[in-house]
């Protein structure tokens, strides 16, 4: 079942179009919403929460239309906003319990659950402190705790690692990963930090100027068309490269003793061909792997202005190497 289904969604703020005929489907699991600042990520989240009325199109969460369902749909959703947000004058435990009550929990359950969630988010010792005295890292954690308190089925995290030091960032990513994997909570992480997305998400949706640029698993996004191989040799061997080219392979120049080789046929057959060529030219092979580009390269390709929307861009093996 898809967690989020968006179809031809257009959202405008006055004359500015924040989302333009945006369509995508997000399955269960942890999905990253990637895009540069101002791409429309936060607008998409706010539209899914019903904060913004779309001009046209539909959006569904867990099968419920976000416009028709009204506020009741938010009972299934937790939001960790990008900006700091808390209720002034409250301790962490009363704030999180209050957030639970607002979501519909009975007050006794909300208090019990608030303690539990704060403990999980690493704020157990600081739960009786006023939230306004918290550090940036603690404020990020309490935002996560208030989003989790009512046991949402879908969690929207908007730039969850903003303002965190490296250690805090790692801890936050660990927390997100522990929630999103095997706990039945579907997570949509909006971020422009590619390493964070790669660390916690299984899939990505790339947004640019309010349009969908690419969607799929991270492996799919990083894959290079034609499944080329990166062949690491002991030292550059021109005879080896020439031999491969004679049998129809496309071979890039060596980079750190690695040739990028694209051959016809499947990966197994390509392995055999490369080994045969190496044996014939006395080249020493140190390693094979299916070549892939970095998520950063994949993202930059996806958000190139010339690229048409909705197409997962996958360059050929020669791209950027030959």
């Amino acid at each position: 079942m898809n967690v989020v289904e968006v179809s031809h969604l257009t959202v405008q703020y006055g004359s500015f179009t924040a989302l333009n005929d945006f369509s995508c489907e997000i399955p269960e699991g942890c999905t990253g919403l990637l895009g540069p600042n101002g791409a429309g990520k936060t607008t998409l989240i706010k539209t899914l929460l019903g904060f913004v009325q779309p001009k046209s199109g539909t959006a569904r969460i867990l099968g419920d239309d976000v416009v028709a369902s009204g506020p009741s749909i938010r009972q299934k959703i937790g939001l960790m906003p990008e900006q700091d947000c808390h209720i002034p004058g409250m301790t962490a435990v009363s704030f999180v319990a209050y957030a639970g009550e607002l979501a519909g929990m009975p007050s006794a359950q909300a208090i019990r659950r608030a303690h539990e969630v704060l403990e999980h988010c690493g704020l157990g010792e600081a739960r009786y402190r006023n939230v306004e005295t918290y550090s940036t890292g603690m404020k990020q954690r309490i935002k996560l705790a208030q989003a989790l308190v009512h046991g949402p089925k879908v969690l929207f995290l908007d730039e969850p690692t903003n303002g965190l030091d490296p250690r805090g960032r790692e801890e936050m990513l660990d927390l997100i990963r522990s929630i999103s994997h095997g706990k039945g909570v579907n997570v949509l992480v909006s971020s422009h930090v590619l390493r964070d997305i790669e660390r916690v998400c299984d899939r990505v949706v790339v947004v640019m100027k309010g349009q969908l640029r690419a969607t799929g698993t991270i492996q799919e996004l990083k894959a290079i068309q034609g499944q080329p191989l990166d062949v690491e040799v002991r030292e550059p061997n021109h005879a080896f490269a020439s031999r491969l080219m004679e049998i129809g392979a496309v071979v890039g120049p060596p980079k750190n003793n690695v040739y990028r080789v694209q051959l016809a046929g499947d990966v197994r057959q390509a392995h055999i061909t490369v080994q045969t060529a190496a044996r014939a030219t006395n080249a020493q092979i140190r390693g094979f792997r299916v070549a892939e580009r970095s998520l950063e390269d994949a993202f930059l390709d996806a958000v190139q202005p010339s690229e048409p929307p909705h197409i997962l861009h996958a360059p050929t093996a020669t791209g950027g190497v030959q």
């Binding site: 999980h120 989003a147 989790l148 046991g151 039945g184």
Partner: protein, 319 residues
Amino acid sequence: MASPIADVSYRDYDGPLFAARYRWWVIAKQGILLASKKRNLQVLSFVSAWYYLAMIIVLFFVNQGGSGGNSEAGNRIMEGIMKNVVWKDQFLHGFSFAQLPLLLVTLVLGAGAIANDNRSRALLVYLSRPCTKLDYLIGKFVGIFVPIFVILAVPTVLFYGYCALSFNQYGFLRDAPWLLPQMLVVILMSAAFHAALVLAVSAMFDQGRVAGATYAAMYFITNFFTVAMSITWATSDGKAPEPVKHLFYGSIDGLQIGFCKAILDTRGSRPFVGGQRGAEANLPVPAPPLLAISLILLVIIAGSAFLTWRRIRAVEVVG
């Protein structure tokens, strides 16, 4: 960090969740709970009831002294004093003298109600839950309205009870049989007026202190206007033009005092001793027309609620 013995693995919540109704009550309840914990509010509650407390002390000693030994002379003295007391005017005074402390109560309760939420972007917490803008608005309103109502109503009811039990033979219940319901209507209107107005001011700012200063400025500037009209009235020997009488009520507390006078159908008298003597200019300004002042109050309440509604936004709209 987590306690070493704690089980910190994440567990899903599988307990009950109430339907998305009556969320406003959760917000209101929180407002009332926070108010009940404020020490300065408890002190101000006592201060706002000072006239009733003073009257209870005065009446107690008068009663003790006048009826000492249940002598006939004592009873005559008591009747002489009580003859001058206009009971409904005592409630008007109690309400009027509570206005300044009530301003402070309102500031403590309401100045930061929305302004502080704006500052800390708490709206995202509220509106990402099954809460609507209306729930938020009603919850915040009730969270201010109920404490103000209680702070005004409790001393009024206590004073009424004391007078009904002790001075019924001097015509307390006979002279103004509808006094308690009338006073409760006045208090309801006053609490609604203060709550709506302070919320509107609070919604305009993102600093509770700035909102509070603005509300206080509104109170004192309009109050200065009231004083000016009062002096005009007093120096005119009762011949001031007709509008002056009504402009006297052109302030935050003036509107409420005017409404109280109109409901109780009295122009008031001197505090404590009562009685109305002297020339027209020395008498309090007459009560305004009930319908007109009620309409003005209701329009201000509705207008304030509309302004607040317009200012509550989950997202910043650009373009």
